[in-house]
Amino acid sequence: MKAFLAGLCHETSAFSPTPTSRRSFEEFVAYRPVDGRPSSEARALNGYSGFLRAADAHGDDVHVSFYSWAQPSAPCRQADYEALRDEILNDLRKAGPVDMVLLFLHGAQMSQQCDDCEGDLLSHVRAIVGGSVFVGALLDLHANVTTAMIDAADALVACRNYPHTDFDERAVELYELGRRAARGEVRPHMVFERLPMIGMFFTTEPQMAHANAAAFALEQQPGVLSVSLIHGFLWADMAQMGAGVLLVSDGVQPHLQPGVRAVAKAFFDARGETRALRKSLDDVLDRIESAPAAPKPFVIADACDNAGGGAGSDSTFILEAVLTRGQRGFAFGLLWDPIAVQFAQMAGEGGVLRLRLGGKTGPEAGRPLDVTARVLALKDNLSQVGIGFTAPVGAAAALEIEGNIVIVNDVRGQVFSPTCFSDLGVDIGAQRAVVVKSTQHFYDQFGPLAREILYCETPGALALDIDPSRYRNLRRPLWPLDPVDYTP
């Protein structure tokens, strides 16, 4: 059995202030094999690791191509996207005839002239390998699944958890599915049941956990190869943006339709759960101010300024409010501010300096704050490990500002791991509250450390109250913009 692997992942926000180019794909998580064969480095990459573990177990012949995750940001320059796509396609041609093609894609990637990069890439792959070779893709659940993707691929499998802790397990499942298809044991067929809703859906909450359990139960039914809850990515401005349930069955199985709809209904019924978690900034700070002392900190998700959703990661709304209210004992991270990092390096550890902090990427970052800061610690070349990735943090500084701590860094990225704080000597357990610029992925490692998790709504780039007038290609009706219902 001969398999070909490639990975090209970018969650594209139509409204991100951060542009995207080839450099964005080369500088975050990027791997390029020397001779088309997987190295030990390839085996450590999220997604590839599961594919390769399964392949090794069978003794399969594996060719690998470029693998990259770019930080979420605006649509990529067209020529750059095409160059990366063509690099993968050329490697596929060079690999010669294969039995299966397995791609790790995001599902919500756009370039400046293409709303559906995954559909485009999968169609090109199909054109090269022909109709009989298995083509499958592992997706982020924040995918916008299109008819082009479904037409071109044999099977699409999305991760199940948000935070996305299960790419590796899903990669193994997809590989096994593809292998059975390539051997003619099954004939994958896809059905996508769309849901008229957009939003964020945390699988750490009870109703979404129930929907996930329903999907898993359906997956155990005879004739079912895979069931994925597709959450959609709401900051993509495209007609096929949205949520749904994706079934991969063994051949056409009309009798599964009621089961798919029942899962979709459970998903639809959970739609308001995550939204209800969002608290206003004042409510969050009031709650912390009035709470008695405790050995564990509150963890506040600065959910709207998540670099992992394309935001600038330098908004100042929460910090400004904490300073204005005179609250103390907060630790903030990671605020992307290369100039502040450089100034802190100039002042040195123990140095005191006046800084203009944050608010530098655009209107959605709020106002820059003029503060006096003491440099507590400086570090170079930091990284963090989260949901299967090793992500660069870069040079960072811990700053003390009026009894609070702010971690600034020079590589824009969301907070996955408490090491973003502890690497700079900041003891999370000693804080009253820890504010992380992340929507939900922080939950995996911060959840166990938290006294309580508070999801804070701010006017940042990723506010859940989307403004439909900014979209040109929104297909209505859609919850929560319109009153809609879903009946199986």
């Binding site: 202030p17 542009p19 605006a74 100034f343 100039m346 140095g351 005191v352 800084l355 530098k360 655009g362």
Partner: protein, 489 residues
Amino acid sequence: MTKTVFFSSLMTETSSFSNLPTTLADYQSGLMRGDGCFFDADGRERTGAAPILAFARARGWRAVGGLVAQSTVGAPTQHRDYLALREEILDGVRAAQPAVVALGLHGAMMSTACEDCEGDLLAEIRALVGSATPIVVVLDPHAHLTDAMLKHASALVFMKEYPHTDGVERMQDALAIAGRMIDEGLSPTPSVFDCRLLGFFPTQRQPMRGFVDQLFEIERGPGVVSASFVHGFPWGDMPDAGAKVLVYTDGDHDLAGRVAQSLHDSIWAIKDQTGPPLISVDEAIALARAPRTAPLVLSDIADNPGGGAPSDSTFLLRALIEANIPNAAVGLVYDPQAVRLCHQVGRGGRLTLRVGGKLGPASGQPIDLDVEVVDVRKDAVMTFGADWRFGLGDTAWIRSCGVDVVLCSIRVQMYDPSGFSHIGLDPASRAVLVVKSSNHFQAAFEPIASDIRWVSTPGAIDFDFTRLAYTRLKRPMYPRVADPFAEPS
């Protein structure tokens, strides 16, 4: 036992309106120690050392060098770094056990925990050498004259010229006073007149030239040991800031007071005629509207990085955009974050960019612009004259609302039109050029300019002293009040 004259120097001009951190690293360039203070690596006598060596030779003494360190203008020096510098100087004094201490100080140095570093340093030295040992000091006139400085120094001699070309002569004056103290028992008796004046006093042009000549004249007169005009440093916010007259006589308090008063009267009479000729932002915009065949060059005088300014202020840029001035170019705006985003978009790309206003309050507010990235350069270089090459880091040329802006990633002032042309922007073809430089740009921009004007912009080096947000300087000061002497100080 051979006696010793000890020399040391510590100089920086601290701006309260700059937030560029000043640390030990900033003092490393040109740092000298021991005999290195007097002789270069080839053993040649340094020009500045001549008065000290001459003083020692004439008396058969030895000259001992301590630490000579200086930093360009910036925010207050980190206090631990000031203490380290002070301690090295004090170690030198302890080791030398000098009969005379001769110092070169700026007079406007602040640390993050001390707003009068010179007063502090002089007190420490005085405690080491005792009350009888002459401590004479040459200072930059852009200084804050404080009681502590007066109390602990035997004589403070301020340079009279700006540009400061007379450091050697003033050290001769200072050591002459030390010599007379030893030989004649001279007792330098100071009188200070607080002019309650904030100003800027270049000394080449009249009427300021005549005032400096008057200082020399008075020093030649009977009974006067030394007469200094302390210009003050308006960008240092501390209680003693401002222009002052300092006159020393030999024990004659009345004479010192009379002379100081007369010098004050002289400077007061010309106070409105000393500064550089500046135009307001509104006047600059009016000039920018006039049709012309060669560029009007506007110096954004308050945002010169060579003077500790951020080089990313947005005041003139905003005015150009709001006035819809076509065919204008602004450079060099320090904004590495924006440059990075422009490089990601690449040539010909468009994006919404938050430009400038990122280093501190002196930067003004950032401007949100829809821009076209006209071009980008990696590791760009600005040339200046035959010998100078200034690295700009990555640069980007953006265009919005008819205004072109060249952004850079390394803070450096606009010395030369190549700051524009390196990226393909032809400065000679623009109607208006805004340069973030106050002086150095002149030589290279003059050949392409139809007119050069200096604009009184807000910012780190704001020349409109009525606008500066002082919190520590509380005395009534001209021009912040029309008659500061009508109010209690």
